[in-house]
Structure formats: structure tokens, C-alpha cells
């Protein structure tokens, strides 16, 4: 496997606030799917925002296919294949499902390509075909999540980062979304998933990465990582306590 994305010693934070990410070093390989887990406030979402360019890193290096991409704009990163589906709902409320998907293809000019990809999205989410002319703001939570995922697929990304796709969804709907995410690997997309529901998230990933206090603690194959004794410590807070002690 070839390395797609490398982060070394990345630090990042918001405004004049403290570092949320503190020296994250990661290696993401092409074609593999990853699930990042960790307690609240570990910096999971911040990590995705840095990679997609919404937040510039304060320090450290981000390499995509060997080329430095840290600090580039989201639209520039999208053009080289890095796409991001944020946690909060981001459909365009006053645009129809069709217009929303068209916005996904904003950076594409080839009309045939847009048509083909739109067909693919409808095949993946048949319900969107039924909601074709409905406004984004009037869709249910699950349908909105499908629109955002479908919109992201319009650019045929190399790396797709998805933040908490199951948030606020009914369990059956969430399962459907997870099944779709699991299928993204077959389309040749490298997936980087952040999920609060560690069990479900890891089930649709090959590799698990554990993030805590702004740094990646450890990683391993997705199946079995939850049995790791360090996970229990982490979620029970012993790692936090240990870190604090060592700081003093």
C-alpha cells in the first residue's frame, strides 16, 4: 500500500485559544478505511478540519501524496481529491436535492461526468431520486445526511473524511449510512471516519486510530482494537489522570 496522507507533529487550535491538536503524527494509506475514535474533546473534528483546509495548522507538516498541503484553502484541497463531510448539517436549505448535488459538482465542468456521477448517487440513495425537486431544508435528518454524502461523492474524492455521520439519526437510518460508508472502499475511496459510536464506526473500517488530548495514542486493526486494555483505561479516564500526573 502506498501512503496517501502523512501528518507529522501537527499542532492546531482556534483563534487565540490553546492547542487542540498537540503533535499529531499519522500515516494514512491509500485504499484503506480508517475510523478515529476517542473521548469528547480529543480533537477528532479539529483533525479533520486541518486536513481539509478549514483550519490552518499552527505547526507541523501535512503531506498529500508527498506534496506539502498544510495551510491550503478547502477549494484547492478539494481539487486534488480531499473532501470533507462535517458533523453539522450542511445541506443548502433553499436549494432542491438536485441543486444540492449540482453544488457538489461546483469544481467540475464536464457535463457528462456530472450526469454519470449524479446517476451513481441516485443508485446509492434511491430515496434522493424521489425527493429530487424537494428543498434541502425540508428533508429529514437521514435524507439530509444522504444529500451531504451524495454531494461529496460528486467530486469522486480520493480521500473522504466524514465527521459523526450517525449524529442525531435513528438507529436504522444510521445503519444504512454506515453500510454506504462501508461500500465507499469499493469505489476506490480512502475513508477517514470520525465516530462517537466506536463499535459501529470501527465495524465499517479496516483500521482504528485512538485520539486523546489532541494526540494519537495508538492505532491498530479495527477488529480487536476495542479489546485493547488501553481503550478501557482511556474511556475510564486513567490515561488522562496518568498524563496529568506526568505533567506535574
Amino acid at each position: 500500500m502506498t501512503s496517501l496522507l502523512q501528518l507529522s507533529q501537527v499542532r492546531a487550535g482556534y483563534g487565540v485559544g490553546p492547542d487542540i491538536l498537540d503533535t499529531v503524527t499519522l500515516n494514512i494509506e491509500e485504499g484503506r478505511s480508517y475510523c478515529i475514535i476517542g473521548p469528547n474533546g480529543a480533537g477528532k473534528s479539529t483533525l479533520l478540519k486541518v486536513i481539509c483546509g478549514i483550519l490552518a495548522p499552527r505547526d507541523g507538516e501535512v503531506l498529500f501524496r508527498g506534496a506539502p498541503v498544510g495551510g491550503m484553502r478547502p477549494d484547492e484541497l478539494l481539487r486534488i481529491g480531499i473532501c470533507y463531510v462535517p458533523q453539522e448539517r450542511t445541506v443548502f436549505p433553499a436549494m432542491t436535492v438536485r441543486e444540492n448535488l449540482m453544488m457538489g459538482a461546483y469544481s467540475i465542468t464536464d457535463r457528462n461526468m456530472i450526469q454519470t456521477r449524479m446517476q451513481r448517487v441516485i443508485e446509492m440513495f434511491p430515496i434522493l431520486g424521489e425527493r429530487w425537486a424537494q428543498l434541502g431544508g425540508t428533508l429529514s435528518g437521514g435524507e439530509q445526511q444522504m444529500v451531504t454524502l451524495g454531494r461529496a461523492l460528486m467530486v469522486n474524492p480520493t480521500l473522504m473524511m466524514i465527521d459523526e455521520p450517525s449524529l442525531g439519526l435513528a438507529p436504522q437510518v444510521a445503519d444504512q449510512i454506515f453500510a454506504t460508508i462501508q461500500g465507499l472502499g469499493d469505489l476506490g475511496i480512502t475513508v477517514l471516519l470520525v465516530e462517537q459510536n466506536a463499535h459501529k464506526g470501527l465495524r465499517c473500517a479496516d483500521w482504528g486510530i485512538v485520539l486523546d488530548l489532541g494526540t494519537n495514542r495508538f492505532e491498530g486493526p479495527a477488529t480487536g482494537i476495542l479489546e485493547d486494555p488501553r481503550i478501557r483505561e482511556l474511556y475510564l479516564g486513567t490515561t488522562v489522570a496518568a498524563t496529568k500526573e506526568s505533567d506535574q
Binding site: I54, P74, V91, F92, M95, M102, Y106
Partner: protein
Amino acid sequence: MTNFLQVLILGLILGGVYALMASGLTLLFGVMRVVNLAHAAFMILAAYIAFFAFDIYQVDPVVSIAITMPVMFALGVGVYLLLFRRIEGTERYVEMTVLMTFGLALTIEGLLTFFFTGIFRSTRPSYATQSFFFADLFLPKGQAIATGVSIALLAMLWAFLTFTKTGTAVRATMQNRTAAEIVGVNVRRISAISFGMGMALAGAAGSLLSYLFAFFPSRHWQWVAILLSLIVLGGMGSLKGAILGALTLAVASAFVTDRFGPSWSPITFYLALFLVLMFRPQGLFGKVVRI
């Protein structure tokens, strides 16, 4: 009945111009969350450009739109790059933009007063004092022309936002800035264009204002208060709302003027502002934002 129709007509043809004035303000708020308190000051600045173009070169104020719009567009982009781009994404962004636009308004007013003094000005093309007559009704020619021009410009704005790629990106940014950013819209470029367009619309409005209303540098405070009441009624950031708000309040103020006299006319706007904030703070077409 004739009187009712007459007042309605006078209100509507004024409303068209108000709609043009308010469109730039609401556009800027929609895209950038900037409440531009200097919007009317830019309008007055454009009115001065139209005034001197008329006074020195005999350029018709309606034709002067061809000068004021591009000049104000460039000025808007410049102001954005110089002042607003640096504070985007910072904490207290909204508060800072309010102070910044307030400062801009004072600066423009000060410069205009310094160079052109505070005396009343207005351009006087021949049609400013003529009227069309239909049976018992009359239509002031100048206002009719101004409303026609306003409708044409608003239609062009609508076509731009609906049918062009950049316009679609502007609408997307208005609806959800983060979403626009992640689908690959360069939101900074869109912000610069929107700032320029907002100012260009203020420029066109200023050209029309130059012959419809007498103006002097500090006159913009009254205008910006009226314009804010229009877009608050319509829902901040909604173009449709701004147009309907403008027509509604222009007609209302025409009836108030007819019934109680012109000195009560401004009260209409402030009363409407007060009532909207009490009973429907999101406006007619605004959405409820929870913080």
C-alpha cells in the same frame, strides 16, 4: 377611490427605489453577516459622483449609473480586501464589523463634508419635475423612471444569482457558508464579489437618489435607518424579503403622508421596525437562528 389609487401608485413607485437601495444591504448581510451601517453613506457618495457628473459634464443621473456602479464595485472590493478580510473568522467578528462599518460611515460623511460642505444638493434633469397623467391620476416621471431602472437592475441581479455559476456560489454562501466552502467555493472570492456588488447596487441607488431626493453628507443616517427597517421586516439576508419589505413600507408611508402629513412619514418605518422586532423578529422571510 381615485385618491386611494393615487397614493398607492406613489407608494409603489417609491418602493421600487427603496428595494434597490435595500438589496445591496441585504445581500451583504446574507453573504458575509455584515450589517453595513455605511451602506447609505456609500449611496450618498455615489449621489455626489452623479451630482458632479451632471453639474460639470451634463451626464444624465440615470446614465451616471454606468459610472457609479463600476466605481463603487471597485471601492467595495477594495474596502473588503483592506478592512474586512483580515477579521474574517476572528472572535467577535459581528461586533467588529458593526463598529467598522459605523466608522466607515463617519469617515465618508466627514470627507464629503470637508470637500463638498453640508449644503443641500440635487441633480435637476428635466424629467425630475415632469409627470405623466392618466385620467385623474398622475405619475411623477422621475420616480417612474427610477423605479423602472430599479426593477431592471433587480431583475439583472436575480438573473445573475439564478443562472450564473458565480451567482449560484453567492446563493450557496448565503445559505450555508461552511457547506459552500466544502464543495469548493472560494468563499473569500465570493465575499469580495458580494461586497463589490453590494456597493455597486448602493452606487446605482445613489445615482437615482441624486435627483429624487435632496441630499447632504449627513443625510445617510436617515436613509440607513429606513433601509434597516425594510430588511428587518423582510428578514435579514433575504432578497425577496427586502423587495417586499420595501414595497410594503413605501406604500404604508405614502398613506401615512397622505393622512397625517409628510412629517409623520419616517415614523412608519420605525414603528414597523418596532412591531416586527416585537412580534416576528426573524422578519417575513428570515429564518430563526438559534444561538
